[in-house]
């Protein structure tokens, strides 16, 4: 038996940094070499390094729901081929939403074993959104899909490279089953090349420190992550906490969809149980198990320690229970291509369940939905197709000690930017009438919920199509500790004849020249009783036009008088005393 040698903590830290930086360089290389803007601009991709047991070692991702999602893909690759069945230079491809690591078919995962001294020691894996992989609609994902076969081709964990060489048959099938094969193959090769970047780096690290030291350091590092998490768990209240939420519909216009959670916090465990959540839906809002597990990790990390290094040790205390044949663990061949419409709730309910007991770690409900929109058509002046695909930003919840943020992308987006108005008008045949805070009467509290946004696109093209999917249209963001609920998200079409149509979802709605598409995101929930808000803050809100004089008086119980306006303290005390 080997006696355990102890490695000095500096070596552990330096090796950890080097592995994290290998994941980051993989991320940078893929972003740099991809030809598609959904990768390099929207950052809809992630990169990870795991060990041979598929434990997360280091990762870099552009959007939070991808945290830790790739471990399942590595596990499935190993389960299928066995460590012995994988050779140096092999790369496995998967996008099967009913297998590990997948989200929807557009997100394609590549997994590669990293060999050292003749054996696989670690794995590099990445996933990225490909623009088109076949299916019934251009772009593959579709709000109206009714089964998975309409959402593109599936690669169920097969070898794409063997010993460093592309497997011709798979590549040919891939090229034939998408509408833009050049771009698809380009992104596939960029992904493969970025895996090599990580492998090269890992080999350098092993050359320098020795394989034993690297593997031992990883154990120490994972143990550090676990200790850090347990340390934070100690600070949390123990017990069971429940919450539920309703999703507007399943995307095909059905009834609201129930999401339930029970969170159990113990000294050494954090259990998220989604039992009671609605059955698999007919529409494509079902979220594959892998991404739900990964979103649960995100929810846990946000609560336990937002800045901790994400690794398997840190996630060790987390257990997630998701019953089969539910919207969070659907049954093949149910469609999943707009999975984010339900998936965001997997995080939201966890926070809702805990918000009242740990308000110093969780803010009130936010606008939650990606509120994605597609504006497209054939440009009159060039005769070419144009596509504008973007998320909309909205209001974030107030928290203990802070007002909510105005206009931030939702929890499913991270370092994601909204489009500049000047860039949009240059690229697309439209004029932006306004891009402003959506000042509404809602989200009141001792700390005020953040404002959503309102954006008007006036079409200058003869014919334009608008698709929008704004969740939380019927069930607004939740207030906390007596703070008021927020306001709903919606899209609207204002036609030149003066008619206004307001809804949560539009599917390829045709607009004529001069018509306006309006995207409205909601205010978030407030925190605490509005009567406890500092009157000076209310006065500032009125001066800045966030709150009207009437609301100041009726909701906040603050009387503002005179010129320059000031707080009438006596009248305020009366208003508040009477509440």
């Amino acid at each position: 038996m080997k006696t355990k040698r102890s490695i000095d903590p500096f070596t552990v830290e330096v090796i950890k940094r080097a592995l994290v930086s290998a994941a980051e360089q993989m991320f940078a290389a893929l972003g740099r070499t991809s030809k598609s803007s959904v990768i390099y601009e929207v950052l809809d991709y992630g990169c990870a390094i795991t060990d041979a047991k598929a434990r997360m070692i280091a990762q870099a991702n552009g959007i939070p729901p991808f945290i830790g999602v790739l471990t399942d893909a590595v596990a499935d690759a190993v389960a299928k081929f066995g460590l012995d069945g994988l050779a140096e230079g092999d790369i496995v491809i998967t996008n099967d939403p009913y297998m590990g690591g997948a989200t929807h078919q557009n997100d394609v995962v590549l997994v590669m074993p990293i060999f050292y001294e003749g054996r696989p020691i670690l794995f590099a894996a990445n996933k990225a959104h490909w623009n088109d992989i076949g299916g019934k609609d251009p772009g593959s994902w579709s709000p109206s899909a009714t089964d998975i076969y309409q959402e593109g081709i599936q690669f169920p964990v097969v070898k794409l490279f063997e010993r460093g060489k592309e497997v011709r048959g798979i590549v040919d099938i891939l090229a034939r089953n998408g509408r833009i094969p050049d771009m698809t193959l380009g992104d596939m090769r960029a992904q493969a090349a970025s895996l090599q970047v990580a492998a090269k780096r890992v080999v350098q690290i092993c050359d320098k420190y020795g394989l034993e030291t690297v593997l031992e350091s990883i154990e120490v590092y994972l143990e550090q992550g676990r200790k850090l998490a347990l340390d934070e768990l100690k600070k949390l209240p123990k017990g069971q906490f429940t919450a539920e939420e309703w999703i507007d519909d399943d995307g095909l216009g059905g009834d609201p969809v129930l999401v339930k959670v029970k969170v159990t916090i113990q000294d050494d465990a954090f259990i998220i149980d989604y039992t009671g959540t609605a059955k698999t839906c007919p529409g494509p809002i079902n979220a594959p198990l892998s991404v739900v597990l990964s979103t649960a990790k995100f929810a846990y990390k946000a609560v336990v320690s937002p800045h901790a290094d994400p690794n398997e040790g840190f996630f060790a205390p987390l257990k997630v229970i998701v019953p089969e044949d539910t919207v969070f663990n659907p049954k093949r061949p149910a469609p999943v291509s707009t999975y984010w419409e339900s998936n965001s709730y997997a995080g939201d309910v966890v926070w809702k369940a805990l918000a009242n007991v740990i308000p110093e770690r969780i803010t009130a409900g936010h606008f939650l939905s990606v509120c994605g929109s597609i504006v497209s058509g054939i440009d009159d002046s060039t005769g070419e197709w144009f596509f504008s695909v973007e998320p909309n930003a909205g209001g974030w919840g107030a928290g203990k000690g802070k007002d909510g943020e105005n206009g931030l992308v939702c929890s499913a987006d991270g370092e994601t930017y909204v489009l500049s108005v000047e860039v949009a008008e240059t690229r697309y045949p439209l004029i932006v009438g306004q891009f402003a805070l959506n000042i509404q009467n809602g989200g009141h509290g001792q700390w005020r919920g953040g404002f959503g946004l309102v954006k008007d696109y006036r079409m200058t093209n003869s014919k334009t199509f608008v698709t929008a999917s704004c969740g939380r249209n019927r069930f607004p963001p939740w207030g906390l500790a007596g703070g008021h609920d927020g306001t709903p998200n919606l899209a609207a079409v204002l036609t030149t004849d003066g008619r206004v149509e307001e809804r949560g979802r539009f599917s390829s709605r045709e607009l004529k020249k001069g018509d306006v598409a309006r995207f409205v995101t909601g205010m978030a929930g407030g925190y605490g009783n509005p009567h406890n808000r500092d009157p000076q803050a209310v006065l500032d809100d009125v001066a800045d036009g966030y709150v009207t004089l009437k609301t100041a008086e009726e909701v906040y119980g603050v009387a503002i008088v005179g010129d320059p306006p000031h707080v009438d303290h006596a009248a305020t005390a009366r208003l508040r005393g009477g509440a």
Binding site: E13, R32, T33, A193, Y221, R361, A436, D544
Partner: protein, 686 residues
Amino acid sequence: MPVRLAIDIGGTFTDFVGLDETTGAVVLEKALTTPRNFADGVAHTIRKSQVDPRAIRQFVHGTTVVINALTERQGAKVALLTTQGFRDVLEIQRANRTDMYNLFYQKPKPFVPRRLRFEVRERLNYQGEVLQRLVEEDVAAAAEACRKEGVEAIAVCYLHAYANPTHERRTGEIVRKICPQATVTLSHEITGEWREYERTNSTALNAFVQPAVARYLATLDQHLSGMGLSGSKYAMQSNGGTTTFAQAERVPIHLMESGPVGGVIGAKVIADLLDETSVIAFDMGGTTAKVSLIDHGHVKINTDYHLEKTAVWAGYPLKIPVVDIVEVGAGGGSIAWIDSGGALHVGPRSAGADPGPACYALGGTQPTVTDANLLTGRLNPEYFLGGEMRLDPARAEAAVGQIAEPFRLSPLEAALGILRLTNANMQAALERVSIERGYDPRDFTLVAYGGAGGLHGTTLARELRMKKVIVPAAPGQFSAWGMLMTNLRHDFIRTHVMPCSGERLAEIVAGFAELEAGARDQFRAEGFPLDRVTIERSLDLRYKGQEHTVRAPVGDGALRDARGLESVIDRFHELHDQAYSFRQDDPVEIVNFRLVGWGEEEKPRLKPRRKDRRTLAQATKGERAVHFEGVGSLQSKVYERGLLPIEETFRGPAIVEEPACTTVVCPDQEAVADRFSNLIITEVTR
């Protein structure tokens, strides 16, 4: 004896470098910065140096006055006038969640509160055509409100003003009349680039600092003139060039990184002098290390600068030309600590200059990088700042002991560990500017300077297998030295999205002609002789449908005919391939026209030293034990840098000391002082 003089006011020290243009003699001075009165500090330093102010032909000034005003939020009360429908641009920003797992993330707070953001009816499209004429009554009403509110600076930013500035100009006229006490910044004068949030923010921040900077420069000008300094006075800009005080008062935001860029320019000058094609400038000081890559003599200037941006905070974008510098929180004062999971970290928190590292014995008790350098024998306790300050090894040992103990390590082992971790942090920065951008560090030479550059640069270069390390003369004042080697520089940028093809050549020529006219007007206004102005053109190009652009140089012949333009496009394909590893057959589009006007200053010629009778033996101060990672303790020769003979090679392990800096020559490295007093360190080849 005409003198060129540079004074660089940093956070802690004010550096002074004077160069006698006839003899080549250099005068160095260092004084503590006087935060309450910078202008006094400048005058004081000049007096201390005993340089005759009347002999100063040219004065270049690097200053932190702009960045200080911004980081301390000590600036003017600013109002913003903007296009109707876009009052909230400063508040919406780009809506990104940089700290994506943190539910308590807070966006940067706008520099202009909503109540002082006024909407004006006017509208242009992206081609600059008027969709809605300017409603002057709206402007007047806003200006009136500003006057009533006691606003000190007014920013004006209209949509697409880069394509047609007439509405902004007219607004400026009206506002100045009604609200004469306020300074006015028009967005198109700050940048001609698109993206409304970035441009509006740049405009607002310029407005915010303008009154204070104007006051400062006026006071300084008075002081200097009072001393008899009648030579030209320039301020160092972030773009690596200088400008007149008058222009700096108009667009002070360009002084943002006034200090640090001096070093990068200095590194370029050294590289040119020594025929080093490509170098990485590495500046390590007390709190941060700064890294900048110079490719074939080309200092990279970008316009995607951010104030206060971190890995977890979006910061404030500034569309101003700034030398591309990557900064990490690793310096001599960086503190080593253990987190609750038991992992070790160094920085980004720094003990700064006060209380400073534990070994300063000024009250600091936490272990820092400087303490580690002392314990490992790299620093001489008796010769810190030339002996002005004695370092206390016992205190360093006690401090480092705090992190050694929990792991049952000796303080020495822990000290070596601190150095290793610090180097790993800086190595990541070096990789970011090289590997992650498609460069191989092995093709580069490291120019290491700043107080701690020589202590760490040689190890870093070895780690990345770089060609060699150059530690320039007076590394502690190198940024100021670099400022002496600069020219006047003005950048003109204009977004105009159009196809880059021979058929549109006339339009492209016209686009550049317009920028060039602007440049000439600028130099004329500064009283600079136009025959010494040179023009450099480039285009930000992209494949149609792509977002990222690559800047391609436009040589003098390129605009003559379609063939010339073809060569620009060819170069674009090459550069795109290097940066993004692919090229396409797609049509190429212009996004930005860029033009740099250089006002060439006569530069002092650097005179090589002659070989003299100095010997290595004379330069040897003794020997001491220095600890190296993985090697152990080695007896190392200690040399006094100022006494080194030129062109005589000596081997490591060795320590080269000078008053403001120490250089470590690692085992199996060799070092030599060249004829320009640079210290050149290379790996011994076997």
